[in-house]
């Protein structure tokens, strides 16, 4: 990477009002540190306790999605181990909203499942999301990893906006899943 790219990278992050950016493997310790850093940053920049809580909540679910996802991909064949476990997380504050962006590799057959889930979520309004959350909460079972299948529904509820997403093809087996969550 040319040295001038460092400045470009800085400018891009400055322009996007990046509060925090991380690329790598999301471990339990990393997750804890990011949450601590973001909590204190939010205490400084955000006056509304309501917004602070929503952003924090979305962050918790996004980070835990990345964390559990890593556990999963770690056991799969194909992509280079560390490369495939690596993920991206970016948090930015714009004048009237926050954005939490995540990126991670995902097996193609899982992309189809996830896309369906996200489309279903995006088709619902506030009350619809609440009903869906309640029914999954009441009927669903926790996985061994402790995931409840509620993460994306909760993110959508806290966000108050449609979930923006895309799956970029990587190779025959993998896509790169991009998610952008806007929080008003």
């Amino acid at each position: 990477m040319a040295l001038s790219n460092i400045y470009e990278l800085y400018q891009t992050m400055e322009r996007d009002n990046t509060m925090l950016s991380f690329k790598g493997v999301v471990t339990s310790d990393l997750l804890t540190s990011v949450l601590q850093i973001m909590e204190s940053k939010l205490d400084h920049v955000e006056k509304s306790p309501k917004t602070k809580k929503k952003v924090y909540n979305v962050l918790v679910e996004c980070l835990q999605n990345l964390y559990h996802h890593n556990e999963e991909i770690g056991q799969s064949e194909g992509l280079d181990f560390l490369f495939s476990k690596s993920a991206l997380l970016m948090i930015s504050k714009n004048s009237d909203h926050y954005e939490v962006k995540t990126g991670n590799y995902i097996a193609k057959h899982k992309s189809i499942e996830l896309k369906q889930k996200l489309d279903d979520i995006n088709a619902l309004d506030k009350d619809g999301l609440r009903d869906l959350y309640k029914s999954v909460l009441n009927d669903g079972e926790l996985s061994e990893k402790g995931t409840a299948g509620l993460g994306m529904i909760d993110i959508a509820r806290k966000s108050g906006n449609k979930l923006e997403y895309d799956f970029m093809p990587v190779d025959d087996n993998y896509d790169f899943f991009c998610l952008n969550v806007k929080i008003d």
Binding site: T32, L35, K53, Y67, R130, L137, G146, A148, G151, K158
Partner: protein, 131 residues
């Protein structure tokens, strides 16, 4: 027989709530935040304690939930805890839940209402300035 039931006290951490389960007083309190990656591990001892408590409960069991945040993994465990308490209700104890939420925290208020709709025990929704 008639062994004295031990209380359950757990200090809160960055990811787990403070737990104060008092067998003698019949009061069960969760306070703080509950955001562990895998909440099953954390909630298992709480379920075990309630099982043991259910053998000889107080006439009134008061459950105080004072959470500022909880993640979706915890949300399932909290429901299971309520279901367990629902099972005790009317069997030697009357269970009631006090659900605390901070003023303007609609999300936490809604979460309490959602549990209230699923669980058949009396819920008091209590708005406070700060948890």
């Amino acid at each position: 027989m008639n062994e004295i039931m031990e209380n359950l006290k757990l200090e809160g951490s960055a990811k787990t709530p403070t737990v104060t389960f008092d067998a003698g007083g019949g009061t069960l309190e969760l306070k703080g935040r509950s955001i562990p990656e895998n909440s099953v591990e954390f909630y298992k001892p709480l379920n075990d304690w309630i099982d043991a408590y259910g053998a000889s409960p107080k006439a009134v069991t008061t459950v105080d939930i004072k959470l500022e945040y909880f993640n979706t993994s915890s949300s399932k465990c909290i429901l299971d805890l309520f279901k367990q308490l629902e099972g005790l209700n009317g069997k030697g104890t009357e269970v009631k839940v006090n659900w605390y939420f901070e003023e303007d925290d609609e999300d936490m208020e809604e979460a309490g209402e959602d549990y209230q709709a699923i669980i058949n025990i009396p819920f008091n929704m209590i708005e406070v300035e700060e948890i």
